[in-house]
Amino acid sequence: MSRSAAAVPPAPTAVAGLEALLRSMADDEFVIGFSDSEWTGIAPLLEEDIAMSSLAQDELGHAAALYGLLAELTDTDADALAYDREPGDYQHARLLDHGRGDWAMTIARRYLYETADAVRLEALVGGSWAPLADLVGKLVREERYHQMHIGSWLERLATAEGEPRDRLRAALGTLGPDAGTVFTPLPGEPALVADGILARPMAELEADWRARITSVFDRLRLPQPPPTRDPERGRTDHGDAFTWLHGEFTIVRRSDPGATW
């Protein structure tokens, strides 16, 4: 009765693209969730400590559900996907590779990611593969709170004169060239679109996303993200900050393989 990945096999032509899509989305949510969990206990305000921890918890939950679907498709388990790969095998967007940084960096990164993720999720709502479409229907409802929260922080930093605004502009300058990497074309993407799992190609989604954030950035006089630097490597070559983060999030797994709680 359940519409699990095992019970509802996708069209054979779509399998490769679907695996790439699930892996990229799960890795994105996992890496940003883990990065932001670094604020637990040290965020600038108590309410924000709670909010950032709750956001991180949501994202790790989303990652677990997406890894769960991928695990069913590939006959492995979600924990192995999350924890047992080498750093080079993760396929998150390079936008998420810049290390935690200061608060402005965290807000800038999350704003760019949340707005991009929203466009991606909209293109998956009502898709033809029920297990993913069902999950996306739920994710969209939760992400709405993330967008609301991070949008208000962007506004707050951008409209505060002096240091907050300067730091935000600097962070957007650093992250901007990698912001579009969320829309790096996926292997097998044409079949995903042909089979109705993904409504439109990533390149079109990226254009939509840029059009959507332009008005906000213009109004707040913030630097628009430039075209993606090195788009071929948008989800590879993660660098030292990710190698460090990988060491952090795999440490329990490596110290006690098979540990559960």
Partner: protein, 175 residues
């Protein structure tokens, strides 16, 4: 298990102590009645039925199948809810119980029952509303409230402040 047991007795007391007993035939409605005695671990004044997470109950000669809807995708209480349902139904009806989760339909906060809404307000948690404008203080019913943060101590709650009675309070997120 002892904590879950305490919560179960709280929920039973609230439901008036209705008890199916071991000789009750295992029907769909008997299973649903028994589920109304299973508390949510994070909000034990609510049963899983009040919370609206029971999607489907199927009674077979050799097993009982229950499909539940997670309130949030990453809800950490799910494993406890699943285990509590299995223990409670297995003890009541003496047959194996399987609990599955699905996103086939999304759980939404309007699935919380009227009784559940009243129970939430009774412990100072405002039930979900259609928007912040409809939010009322659970202590003094004032509409003069402000959202402090969309994110609270659990994934499903936000933080508010009542300017009328000067009480901070929590509210269930509307999703």
């Amino acid at each position: 298990m002892s904590e879950a047991g305490t919560h179960a007795s709280i929920a039973r007391a609230r439901s008036g102590g209705a008890h199916a007993g071991p000789s009750t035939p295992v029907t769909d409605s008997a299973v649903r009645a028994a589920l109304a005695e299973v508390p949510d671990p994070e909000l034990p004044v609510l049963s899983v039925v009040d919370l609206g997470i029971i999607h489907r109950v199927t009674v077979a000669p050799d097993a009982i199948d229950v499909t539940i809807l997670p309130t949030f995708v990453g809800c950490p209480a799910l494993d406890v809810i699943r285990a509590t349902i299995v223990d409670h139904l297995a003890e009541r009806f003496g047959r194996p119980v399987r609990v599955e989760t699905t996103f086939e339909v999304p759980w939404t906060s309007d699935r919380i029952s009227l009784e559940g809404r009243a129970a939430l307000a009774s412990i100072g948690i405002a039930p979900p509303t259609d928007g912040p404008a409809a939010m009322r203080c659970p202590f003094c019913a004032s509409a003069n409230v402000a959202m402090d943060s969309a994110f609270g101590p659990t994934q499903c709650r936000s933080l508010y402040y009542c300017r009328a009675c000067r009480q901070p309070f929590e509210a269930l997120k509307s999703v």
